[in-house]
Symmetry: D2
Subunit: 142 residues, 4 copies
Amino acid sequence: MPVMSASDLQDFLAEHFPQVGPWRMRVEHIDDRSIRVRMPIGDAHLRPGGTVSGPAMMGLCDSTMYLLILAQIGPVALVVTTNLNINFLRKPEVRDVIAEGRLLKLGKRLAVGEVAIFSDGEEEPVAHATLTYSIPPEGNGK
Amino acid sequence: MPVMSASDLQDFLAEHFPQVGPWRMRVEHIDDRSIRVRMPIGDAHLRPGGTVSGPAMMGLCDSTMYLLILAQIGPVALVVTTNLNINFLRKPEVRDVIAEGRLLKLGKRLAVGEVAIFSDGEEEPVAHATLTYSIPPEGNGK
Amino acid sequence: MPVMSASDLQDFLAEHFPQVGPWRMRVEHIDDRSIRVRMPIGDAHLRPGGTVSGPAMMGLCDSTMYLLILAQIGPVALVVTTNLNINFLRKPEVRDVIAEGRLLKLGKRLAVGEVAIFSDGEEEPVAHATLTYSIPPEGNGK
Amino acid sequence: MPVMSASDLQDFLAEHFPQVGPWRMRVEHIDDRSIRVRMPIGDAHLRPGGTVSGPAMMGLCDSTMYLLILAQIGPVALVVTTNLNINFLRKPEVRDVIAEGRLLKLGKRLAVGEVAIFSDGEEEPVAHATLTYSIPPEGNGK
């Protein structure tokens, strides 16, 4: 069982990342190895041509995996991203995007996971990322 | 439906890669977006300590995705790997390894997929890779 | 010799990406295989703790390599990022960041390069990325 | 100053990796942030078409960075590769390959570096990799 619920994660976001208000991510599901986060499309993410920007998708992948890890180990401030590898697969629609995250490993020192991003309602991902996080020595109660 | 069966892929391997005989990969399943390949453990792959070597796992990921793509577009010689990103997650057992591959995109010019590697019978992957291939202009009949 | 100068690239940014005004990137150097871009620090990039955010660094890597490619082949709208792999190495200072980009390959269909990011005046990079771009068939005059 | 010389590294290879004899890597240079390793071409690495195989190049990247790290911290057995990202850039010649490795970060828990591979005598790399290693708690005397 995760130690933080979707509602806990939402409160954590509001408290620690008030300035990313326009991103307005919503945690729709969390369990002990997966998470789903919705990012409503706002003008801030649109590129010329009307699609979601690459940095917005990269930021969403990063936030999604960060929340998935925090949900397991609690709100440890010092978890940091060490590696992100993303493949951009298709042009996203002008529509909400959904991030589906999944843990591949939650170790004492490193956590690794993958995130697939979808335009809402589509079956094929628009992007896919794998990410690694460093967990500080005192950070993992497991 | 793939255009090459598991048996076709096995024949292709035997004909074009006779020198990797010791790797003795066996295609156990193929469909239009996924593949499973078994690599029996032989001395050639063992590292000090008795686990499967990193290069053996990287080679398995590469071969698995290559076969998955060929199964869709036919035995096109000029499909080439352009990127491989692999995370090593756990120490493998001294046991057969199983590669589970999945296509994320099969485009006209690029194909992208992911491969998870498991010690036979285990639920947690020992490694996870994403790979990109360049498909030559004449190479994709779709 | 590149076909676009630093000043051409700056005009291109102002015309096509007016909404990223706050990022205010400045092209300080361009030649036929490398580029240097400065990103002054503004409030938009700061994370709790006062460092530059991960998405801001990823966006800077992407923009830097994109400009380096455009400088070689001209303002081809359809060049798209297909892969970005970034390692976060050190906590950045609260200071301008400098991106040093270098082409590893400029092919007819794919371009690959690397970008190192530095806090202004420091010798050790805070992040390092490799990136791949797909170049449309009509896009490369070389 | 590195704590292991090129000759020390060569002895380490001979002792711990006797089974990779055919790879016959030779450490040509080592200092406190870079390394050069030569891999003579033997039949074991050749693919159909006569080029160096992908797994051979990936193995060379991994070995090169591993030796570069050991040279700094001593022969610590438990340094393990956690991530490797490689871009294949050009078809290698049928000729020795040279790996040029460079440290990007040597931390207490993680080391990150990059390796470029060249066909001997050529200026453009045939492949470029970034790699991350986990260093065990007792492993880093620095």
